[in-house]
Symmetry: C2
Subunit: 569 residues, 2 copies
Amino acid sequence: MENLTPQNIIVMFLSLGILLGVARVLGELAQRLRQPSVLGELFAGVLLGPTVLGNVAPDLSAFLFPPQGPNAIILNAITTLAVVLFLLVAGIEVNLSTIRRQGHVAFRVSISGILIPFLLGFAVAWLIPQAMGRHLEADPLIFALFFATALSISALPVIAKTLMDLDLYRSDLGMVIVSAAIFNDLVGWIVFAIILGLMGAASGHANHIMSTIVLTLAFAGFMLTLGRWLIHKVLPLVQAHTRWPGGVLGFALTLALLGAAFTEWIGIHAIFGAFLVGVAIGDSSHLRERTRATIDHFVSFIFAPVFFAGIGLKVNFLTHFDLPLVLTVLLIACGCKIAGGTLGARWGGMSSNEAWAVGFAMNSRGAMEIILGLLALEAGIIGNRLFVALVITAIVTSMMSGPVMRFILMRAKKRRLQDTLSSKLFLRELKAISRREAIHEITSAACISAGLDADAVEAAVWAREEALSTGIGNGVALPHARIEGLLDSLIVVGISDTGIDFDAPDDKSAHLIFLILTPGNDPGAQLEITSELSRIFREQYMLERVLRTKNFDDFFVLMKNASVEQQSA
Amino acid sequence: MENLTPQNIIVMFLSLGILLGVARVLGELAQRLRQPSVLGELFAGVLLGPTVLGNVAPDLSAFLFPPQGPNAIILNAITTLAVVLFLLVAGIEVNLSTIRRQGHVAFRVSISGILIPFLLGFAVAWLIPQAMGRHLEADPLIFALFFATALSISALPVIAKTLMDLDLYRSDLGMVIVSAAIFNDLVGWIVFAIILGLMGAASGHANHIMSTIVLTLAFAGFMLTLGRWLIHKVLPLVQAHTRWPGGVLGFALTLALLGAAFTEWIGIHAIFGAFLVGVAIGDSSHLRERTRATIDHFVSFIFAPVFFAGIGLKVNFLTHFDLPLVLTVLLIACGCKIAGGTLGARWGGMSSNEAWAVGFAMNSRGAMEIILGLLALEAGIIGNRLFVALVITAIVTSMMSGPVMRFILMRAKKRRLQDTLSSKLFLRELKAISRREAIHEITSAACISAGLDADAVEAAVWAREEALSTGIGNGVALPHARIEGLLDSLIVVGISDTGIDFDAPDDKSAHLIFLILTPGNDPGAQLEITSELSRIFREQYMLERVLRTKNFDDFFVLMKNASVEQQSA
């Protein structure tokens, strides 16, 4: 096997260490500024890449991140591996039953979010191609098709990361967005495969277009039906006959790598294979939360930062910067994508606030746009100026989506947590010892107090619980349901000193259970309350403090202070 | 940045997926056959490498694992990254206070385990160099020095993996072996650096020898003192100001990568930097068990299998196979290393059984020998035949150490677990709620029953507990001590329905506490009892069954059956 020189090895570890370190520091900093950490990670790449370091210290930059040779290949391979593993995690987190429930909304968001930018982008690029930075030799039709695709694509990894950072990934809203992004990206990549096929047709490699499309659809169909069923059957066997968690970890990663190889082979990007494998594995109820968390932690905090920082290394944003072109592309891209997503969400029946949040979320382009742009650049469809404009569009749209979504969702009337707490709904000593019993005990208390139909409420809460457990870790569980006819949000607090298994990611028993019932006509309330409670109980010491309280008044003061701290932080 | 072609990406994911999949399957299979899983992983590489697949299907082999070009570089980089991360984990698991306690034994094992093979190896290679496969042009002194080093080196990663697989890593015996292997390898690599320096002297690059030695010692000294202290001070800050577990994970990996770059730069292998960083981080009491477990699981079950399988890809064992040379090298290597290790352990005061186990453990050469051999091959010191003989020696010595150690340690008189249980030493309802109280309560019971000095026993148990917590996970804790003057092993069983925090790797409270007191003059007893209990309670359902027992008789029957099942498995 070809050997690496000591110089290669030094540069490899040094560059990876610096990339990871800077990305993690800036990622944490971004979170302190209430931004998604992916922003800090992208910015780390800009700092370390040709734009800043390459300008300030070109020798150091060329030493750390050489543009050619073994170290360039290594870094490229590791970032490719990183994005594939990141998509595996994003896939594992997707909940198919939620997608099924959200199906019609997601479909409408997706269709509208593709068609509007595609038609507008095609029109603009066809009518005024030079203003859009078309390469002189490029075929007008291919250029227009590419530009239309570039406008309509979303970036599933960035969207997923932004939603995870905002604690929205597993919410209903998050699932609509992710489902729409999946449809969106699948369509986008198939269209791009057709474009590459059309270009090949000119140069005589046209026979792959149809097979790419057919194989893509067949593979997606297989993984979402038979493949998913097979994995669900095989997982318990793997778990039973191997040493935990090695067997399941190895099984998941092996399938993801093979899936990645397969989709790359059929002509779409490797990430789709890993993503679909993730969806199929994550959907099995046999995958334990702890295994899921191990993969998630290692990938989200090690591989993802390296990948996102790696993006900034690819381009010099100064030498190829063309302000009018950047602004034009950015405005057209944002306008038509936000409009498409928002209109689709309204068409699907969402509230105005949520629809805008969907529009801005779908507007993230991130890595997908950059990969698409890079391929187009290499194929001679576009020039450097448009490539930089696309990258900036990708970064700006990714950067704005998190803060804007937060702003939109917060703009909704801010309910104060303590207004929903009441001494009548405070059960200091739960008798229940199982999840089922706890939910029965707590919903009964809620329904007696609020005059609701106990059986219906319990069924709704339990259905939600079965779809996806609500144990959030650190000993806290947040079972919840939207109740038609309820006028105001209602929180019942149950404390169990012995602890109840809520299948939390950290395997800890829940000692503190908040039952959250929100009005059916107020979709934002549930999101707000669960996010706030998640944030408060991210600190481990909070649970201990709660367990030390003896009565409702102590508890109330504690929660009020925590909630105020939270808002001023 | 240099781009990978779709072909490169397909081969990368396909080869990694196959390597990981086959290594995990054979690794699990090896464990089922009661062998360390590293054996299966090494064998996966032999199957997929030039020896088997390269012979049976040369086209497929050349496609999956091309010897040149981008994919060769990528695979090399990923296996190098894997071994560095594996050494990080091995370093984290090292317990410095145990090494300090075991210091003089480890030192004697190490000195004797280096000197005997080194002197013998030098003599043989100097007196009959041709019979040992010396390259014709090689300098006799350099060849003899190399051969002596090759005989005296151990393979810390393989030894660590074997000990982990045998559940011995954290035992006193394991710590003696690991400490000795660390000394051993540090000395071995410094000697090898001198050899490479001597060769450079001939060709005019001699100025690096001294600086390599000085920098190596300085870096090791720094990481084990000031660096360790700094990390201990910084870790709580990282933990407080970042999102768990991302901050600590990123911090640990960044330091490991930078440490790897540094040691590679000073002229020794990258793995030493990662290892020393791991030692420094793992020694801090601020590193939470859960973070440790996340790194450990991902590295041990994903990166380590890829690395060990990757070794087999490097060589064709058939074309360069020379039976007389292989047998000669193997016999000399085993004879002098086992003798050196065993004599050193006896010299350090170990029992005969344990000393033989140490000798066979130190005999593992694994990856180190192969890396050493590869460098020597490329430098023209040795030829292909000796290289293959060294690789086979590395594999055979690694393969035999696990089974032989198991056999030796089992040969000691097999005590039956149930003989040490007694209804007088069964505390169905512990009153204690903290670890300190629990140990007090249980040792008191033991001392009253056995007529021991309660304060002395409690102090010994608590000292052990503070050095390294004895919570083994799944709700079980195994506090223990060796007591001078005790005639027979003694187990006190304490059950706590509320649970007591024993800082277990899985963060779960301990509900079942076995206090294990063993005679001071019977070092094997402690090992045997803790291993058996660890194995029995690896199954999560065992704890539930115990908690359901109402009295000693139920408990006794349960343990007896579990113990019998275990032995017949």
